[in-house]
């Protein structure tokens, strides 16, 4: 029982990190960024590429993980900004369908671009976290798991600080409320949106590196399912709401953990997507989402 909760918490913190990016981008420009899951995949591959370039394999050091994490975050953040600049910004005033289709195109491009570079087979991630652990409260916990959860929590706290306490964060919230109004008040809308993409993609990249270290293997399609799951998490928590995304991620991790314990692991994804459909039909605003007026 406690073990299920703990496992759920770890997976949930990955989901939450990815869900945050989804939720931020959606909150600010109402775009469902399908390529977000692939940014997560890119994060893992950037980590893999860097470590392989230095000839590192089967390493277990946690400081090294942190360095790779930072590097991946910066790289994926920049890639996210680039994608926004090339593919999404020119279409900001087009119908929604056009942007959604572009996002799918970007997702495809990233997935199969990585496939062309690294090959279709799964790669072993060079940093492995040791699996020796200790028992607390009837659950098996390893030190590395704690590190992962702590990193995720720290990243989320930093994000919450940026959004709620800084000038840039205030600009983000202003744009989410009313882009035109924000622009009239002197907010540089393009730059703030680029920054949101940077932060969101950096978080997804961090999650990718952490997932690579946690699961040990990465492949070019690893972002697809997690993108879908993270979206589910964002919806459960209330899309556009940061704390909602965190709560939704952890909740979805728990639900999956219990769902696969009760119904069998092969039904795990069905269980999660069933929840997505249930939530969207019964309570589309999610747990913490504000009621939004869709018509104008």
């Amino acid at each position: 029982m406690m073990q299920l909760i703990w496992n759920g918490l770890i997976v949930g913190s990955f989901y939450a990190l990815v869900a945050l990016g989804y939720s931020m981008v959606y909150g600010i420009i109402k775009l469902l960024n399908f390529a977000h899951g692939d940014i997560y995949m890119l994060g893992a591959f950037v980590g893999f590429f860097t470590l392989s370039a230095f000839g590192i394999s089967n390493e277990t050091s946690i400081p090294l993980l942190l360095v790779v994490l930072l590097l991946s975050m910066v790289t994926t953040g920049l890639i996210g900004v680039g994608i926004e600049r090339i593919a999404y910004r020119p279409l900001r005033r087009s119908p929604r369908l056009a942007v959604l289709i572009t996002a799918i195109g970007v997702s495809f491009t990233l997935e199969y671009g990585v496939r062309q570079i690294f090959g279709p087979n799964p790669e072993a991630f060079p940093i492995r976290l040791e699996s020796s652990g200790f028992d607390v409260l009837g659950m098996r916990v390893t030190a590395s798991q704690i590190v992962l959860v702590v990193i995720a929590a720290v990243l989320m706290l930093v994000l919450a600080h940026i959004v709620e306490r800084t000038r840039q964060g205030r600009a983000m919230r202003a744009i989410a409320l009313d882009p035109t109004g924000a622009q009239l008040m002197g907010v540089n809308v393009d730059r703030v949106i680029a920054m949101v993409f940077f932060i969101g993609s950096a978080l997804a990249g961090a999650a990718g590196v952490m997932a690579g270290a946690y699961y040990g293997s990465i492949d070019f399609l690893m972002g697809f399912i997690i993108g879908l799951k993270a979206f589910t998490a964002a919806v459960i928590g209330g899309i556009g709401n940061l704390y909602g995304a965190m709560l939704g991620g952890v909740l979805l991790g728990m639900l999956e953990s219990f769902g696969s314990a009760w119904f069998g692991g092969e039904w795990r994804d069905v269980f999660a997507f069933g929840f997505l459909i249930l939530f969207l039909t019964l309570k589309p605003t999610g747990l913490l989402g504000a009621r939004v007026v869709e018509r104008m």
Partner: protein, 391 residues
Amino acid sequence: MARDLDHALKHVPLRAPAPLYERPQPPKGVFTSQRGFMRALGLVAVLLVAVLPFMDASRYTMSIATSALIYVMLCMGLNVVVGYAGLLDLGYIAFFAVGAYVSGIFTTVLGWPMWAALIATIVACITAGIIIGAPTLRLRSDYLAIVTLGFGEIIRITANNLKITGGPSGIHGIPTWSFGPWSFDDGFSLLGIDFPERVVFYYFVAAVVIVVGVIGAGRLAKGRLGRAWKAVRDDEDAAEAMGINTYIAKISAYIIGAVWAGMAGQLMATHLSAISPNSFQFLYSALILMAVVLGGMGSTPGVIIGALFVSLAPELLRDFAEWRYLIFGVLLVVVMLFRPSGLWPATAVLPWLRRNRPTPPAFTEATAVPASVMESVDGTPTPDPHEGDRA
């Protein structure tokens, strides 16, 4: 008085006023009207499809051609959903899967003949369309996209896990069409020409179903329902204000899309005689969407071209087989950025039929009021009224 007027109005037949002038009959020729040209083009396409087996009836060609036709059917179905009704469906392959699996299970497990399974397939697809559409079509477009994506995955994983669907290895030995003791496998000969089974299937099922499917979808789009779809796509609120039941319009588009995909799935199950969950990955949903977007959303010729491109590209570009998904992804972005209405837009007019609109006469010094005239009125030079225009 008022009653008399009422009475009179009720019983006097209302007639449209006589036209003020005789309108010229619109041209009907093949090269002088859009409609005539499109009909001729369609006829040529149908003829090509019909003649193909006489030119090359090899197993390879027939197989590729049948697959391409099935793609056309799928794309026409998705075109109804995305192109006409403007609903982004990312799990479209799920209906294809439903069609393939239902016909597979009914023919192998229950031993029904294929024509009976076809009816079951259509019923199952309508049901699936309603089950998915009913709760989700009230959502906004981007939520709908992700829900359909989730639904597509649910169907695939379910097919992978259930026993009746054969698990990961799928269903084998799906029979072809048969009527009583005679089945397509026997083939038959007519006028001294032997028709082997693959050609018979191509002819009598695939080609006919697809031609009917393409024409049917195109004609639906022109009717009342089709206009309702397009109205909903362009502005849902305005459509609702005009008295269109937007919910009915959307769900009917969804159901028709599902039926088209289901029939395509049935054809594929019969064509390949084996199906497995791997044929129903998200990748294929995306490929079909690409075909529709590249060709031109809502445009029948465009969608057919897109479908042929996407289905034949791996055969024609063998050297680029590895690269094709990457190329498709980039193409999708590029098309959306630079030509969002696709290769053959729905509103395209044949270049030689484009009416030359008279351009308004350009402003020149000759048409401007001479300054001397202005001056003579009150003695002071007045500012040129067109100064702003010229700047």
